[in-house]
């Protein structure tokens, strides 16, 4: 029977991680807030993972009063403020505690949290220039290892939709065969270089004309640098806003295929796109006329304003 959990208990830390994860996923993954809140979430997961063995392991060992505090005993020291170990120290401790948490995971955590430090301590928008495709698959892999060690799951941390997306990211990240796409890109580069300047110019113009925004997301082809079309599937729910021009629907899209008309490069599958450095999600924006969107029938409104029908 107790009033409150120890603030260093794995339960208290995991629930706070859940709260931070909620804030993270409220943002589109192209937004800097998505990255920043992912780092806050990760830090709490690391702390919870260490605390699962014992909250004492969170203590800053330089002052034994912190160890006492970790044991649930408030030291008599006047003006005592409990201090926990630095996250970099805790990452080292985690490597010892959780066998599945490897040096590669530890390095990722250290680097992701360094980005967080730069974001909160400096004027640079660190996560603005750090596309989620570069870190999200590894981030989700680490989260998966940590939540399992806590007897929890990705679903408990992020909810079903984001957990499904996380598992796809992890699978894509671990797909060794996907890395063969780099060979295909190099082959297309070689063929492209063998074309004359005029042929390249003509192919580039054709690609630009054919690759309309209407059909997909326009990006630079990794082989020939012409305009290529990225197509994807909706990830999560679309966000709707209403302004004076009508309804704007913003949908986060996860890339599924790339087609370049100029050099005829085709990449199919998220794991291959991720390996090619094209795994970033993009936003598909659609505009609708408010009358059409809400299916408002003006004629019916006018009819309803008239007196009752009468066969007079």
């Amino acid at each position: 029977m107790s009033k409150t959990n120890h603030e260093w208990s794995k339960e208290a830390l995991f629930r706070k991680a859940q709260l931070y994860a909620d804030t993270m996923i409220e943002h589109e993954d192209t937004a800097w807030q998505f990255g920043l809140w992912s780092a806050f979430t990760l830090e709490l997961l690391i702390r919870s993972g260490v605390s699962a063995t014992s909250p004492v392991l969170l203590a800053d060992a330089k002052d034994w009063s912190n160890i006492l505090y970790g044991l649930g005993i408030t030291p008599n020291k006047p003006k005592f403020v409990p201090k926990s170990a630095s996250t970099s120290e805790l990452i080292v401790r985690l490597e010892e505690i959780i066998p599945a948490f490897t040096r590669e995971h530890a390095n990722f955590c250290a680097s992701h949290l360094a980005k967080r430090n730069s974001e909160v301590h400096g004027g640079n928008l660190e996560f603005e220039c750090y596309p989620s495709s570069l870190w999200a698959p590894m981030f989700f892999s680490v989260c998966d290892i940590l939540v399992v060690s806590l007897g929890e799951s990705l679903e408990h941390l992020f909810g079903q939709t984001v957990a499904d997306r996380a598992r796809e990211d992890i699978a894509a990240f671990n797909d060794v065969n996907a890395k063969s796409v780099r060979v295909a890109i190099e082959a297309h580069k070689t063929v492209w270089r063998e074309k004359t300047g005029a042929e390249q110019e003509l192919a580039r113009k054709q690609a630009e004309t054919a690759s309309l925004r209407h059909y997909g997301h326009r990006i630079e082809c990794p082989a020939c640098a012409s305009i290529a079309l990225l197509q994807g599937k909706a990830a999560g729910e679309a966000k709707k806003t209403v302004d004076s021009d009508g309804v704007v629907e913003r949908q986060v899209m996860k890339p599924e295929s790339l087609h370049c008309i100029a050099c005829e490069l085709k990449i199919i599958g998220y794991s291959k796109l991720l390996a090619a450095g094209l795994g970033d999600t993009y936003i598909s924006t659609s505009r609708y006329d408010a009358m059409d969107y809400f299916e408002i029938d003006l004629d019916e409104h006018v009819r309803n304003m008239m007196d009752d029908d009468n066969n007079e």
Partner: protein
């Protein structure tokens, strides 16, 4: 109904434990009014000492104006008390509570409802993702709580506040299900009558107090565990 006769009631205590395990509560008698509430509690299990709370608490109906705002009476007065877990806002609430009639009131009843039946349609993901907090901090700390954890089921519409959207939605569904439920109604009409409630499972409440029954007095004792008999 089982009757406890004092220290030589091992068989009766076993019966009470059995009923408590099966339904989440048990109404029973003691053989004499002279047996104190504390003695009854100690016959059944480990009496819990809560810091700042008397071991045996005398619960009397109070008007809204005469009660502190941190109490149920200070919020509901003589109206019905909604179904709740005692100390639901604590990270670990007391496991059992013993209620003993100390001042009979025939028209005021104790209400009981198995929380398991209310939340059993919710998924594990929902229950684990719904975060609640005490409406006020405790010892200057605010910890996040789940409604189900470590074999504890908890609910309190007043002292728990939903924190995230999952919790807000869950909270609305629970309130709706409670509204549609039919709680068990139990009266404590003699000074020998008691109920023990599994506070980690069964919600309890009170029907409204009509003026002539303002003399209703209930002794309440918390227990941390039952004797292993």
């Amino acid at each position: 109904m089982t009757t406890l006769y004092g220290k030589d009631s091992a068989c009766e205590i076993k019966k009470i434990h059995k009923e408590l395990t099966s339904t989440g509560y048990c109404k029973f008698n003691v053989s004499s009014e002279k047996i104190s509430t504390l003695e009854i509690s100690e016959l059944l299990g480990n009496t819990a000492e809560l810091y700042g709370v008397p071991t045996v608490q005398k619960l009397c109906p109070k008007n809204l104006n005469n009660a502190k705002p941190n109490t149920y009476s200070g919020n509901y007065g003589l109206n019905a008390f909604p179904l709740h877990t005692d100390m639901a806002h604590w990270s670990s609430p007391p496991h059992y509570l013993l209620l003993r009639c100390a001042g009979p009131a025939t028209n005021v009843k104790t209400l009981l409802l198995d929380l398991e039946h209310i939340i059993n349609t919710e998924s594990k993901i929902t229950l684990n993702r719904a975060l609640f907090r005490p409406r006020r901090s405790l010892d200057n700390k605010t910890c996040l709580l789940r409604l189900t954890e470590n074999n504890i089921l908890r609910w309190d519409e007043l002292f728990l506040s939903p924190v995230n959207q999952t919790a807000k939605d869950l909270s609305n569904r629970i309130l709706e299900k409670i509204k549609l439920s039919t709680p068990i109604t139990i009266g404590l009409t003699k000074k020998t009558e008691c109920i023990i409630i599994d506070n980690w499972r069964a919600l309890h409440g009170r029907t409204p107090v009509v003026e002539k029954f303002e003399s209703r007095i209930i002794d309440r004792v918390y227990l941390s565990s039952l004797w292993d008999i």
